[in-house]
Symmetry: C2
Subunit: 268 residues, 2 copies
């Protein structure tokens, strides 16, 4: 008879309790793990099996996932009834699969010496925006994304969802201060470029982007903070209609990264 | 003695009941009104006072809003205690002001003859994405945004929030079918340009954008639908890293609209 994953039915099961608790930052930090759910993000996890702690598959979805999860991982897979699925889900509708993954660890010394393009988020709080910017930075093949100490937690379930699982293999460094940026700039020659509508900023596509460079995106409500503003070498802005206040931070970020990409490709 | 807005304390007050019910589409359609909240969106409403049905100001925020709401509108303003504020809010934390506004009405015949740039959303459901694209289309001074019948409701509170109140003065046409697009194209010469990664699509910044044109963004999960795909004249794609699946729809939209803007400005 074919071996099947174990079926869990109790909310008191330690893995179920862990899955629920991982919605809170203090448990994520303690366990060095985070919660992933949804087809695309979990599909991404299948490419990084070393990160898997456990999979949870809603039992009526097992026929699909049994083809995708390698059988060596079935012992790390639990089947759960629909009721338990809604209990552990961070969304309104659980889409059949969730997982607990180990947090990846990246060291500053792995990222800064690459001298390519990095993105720095200064006081960005909105989890949807943080996740979308991780996804965008990954899509444009940046070397990584740096978060200021005041940013939202990148392992928040909403960030993980918007990032579409890209957190698993894309370098995200947290707690990066103005001093860290200054040091990186002095040591490796990074240009620090602030995206801001302030006077003196030049139109983003008129700027000539050259690596190594760090693109700074400020908070939606307050823009770039004074400390970071002080260490920027250049400022770029996206020209918008006079009666429009601003763009969404993740959209602005995408526009600038796409322009860098265009300039790099036009060289050839 | 200075006149003050009326204070409401009961959940049974008809305006409070209306504010709560407007979270549902059928009431919005019946009342031809929608719910707005937050400082920025409500600030936008102050520029379009004819759209105001009522303002709700949390009483401890009145000192601020009394300077901004013209006193002729105080009779349309209600002061509410914190408890009632959380009752009517569509968010976790009410930021002091909310309002009921009349839905703007736009007719196809006002928009299509402009022969500029329009954005068409095909089966886009995510309210955050729809709102962000409205805000972006407004920022790049498009003539309007067209929604397919399967799109999410533009007056959903989450759309209104992401659009930052831009719904009040920016043309949004709903229930636009493939036949409407075809007709607009035949009658006014619109080029229909699909954003898609499919074979045969050209790199977006290599396309020469010329008005009149309609940019089509498909659903995040399924891309552009077959019916719409059939009537596209051209396809553009944003080049991304080979191991990345796609960009967020609102980010992709921003990148294309920004490129159109760049090409238009480089002409001068």
């Amino acid at each position: 008879m074919e071996e099947q994953p174990i079926r869990i039915t109790s909310k008191e099961n330690p893995w179920i309790k862990r899955a629920v608790r991982l919605k809170e930052k203090k448990y994520r930090d303690r366990e060095q793990s985070f919660w992933i759910e949804g087809e695309r993000a979990s599909g991404e996890l299948l490419k990084h099996l070393a990160s898997v702690r456990v999979f949870f598959v809603q039992e009526d979805h097992w026929a699909i996932w049994k083809e995708r999860i390698p059988c060596a991982y079935w012992k790390k897979t639990y089947l759960i009834p629909e009721k338990l699925a809604s209990h552990i889900s961070a969304t309104e509708t659980f889409s059949g699969i969730g997982a607990i993954a180990w947090m990846p660890h990246w060291r500053n010394e792995e990222i800064f010496p690459k001298r390519g393009t990095l993105l720095y988020l200064d006081h960005v709080q909105d989890p949807g925006n943080i996740g979308t910017m991780i996804r965008t930075a990954h899509a444009f093949a940046l070397d990584g994304i740096l978060l200021s100490p005041e940013c939202g937690d990148p392992f928040n379930p909403k960030v993980v969802r918007s990032a579409m699982g890209m957190l698993l293999n894309f370098p995200v460094l947290t707690q990066i201060t103005d001093e860290d940026l200054k040091k990186a700039s002095d040591q490796y020659g990074y240009q620090i470029i602030g995206a801001t509508l302030k006077n003196g900023s030049i139109i983003h596509y008129c700027h000539h982007y050259t690596e190594p460079q760090i693109i700074v995106i400020g908070s939606e409500a307050f823009g770039i903070s004074d400390k970071i503003d002080e260490i920027c070498h250049n400022y770029v802005k996206i020209p918008i209609s006079f009666n429009s206040e601003s763009l969404n931070a993740a959209v602005a970020c995408g526009i600038i990264l796409s322009e860098i990409n265009r300039q790099q490709n036009e060289k050839f």
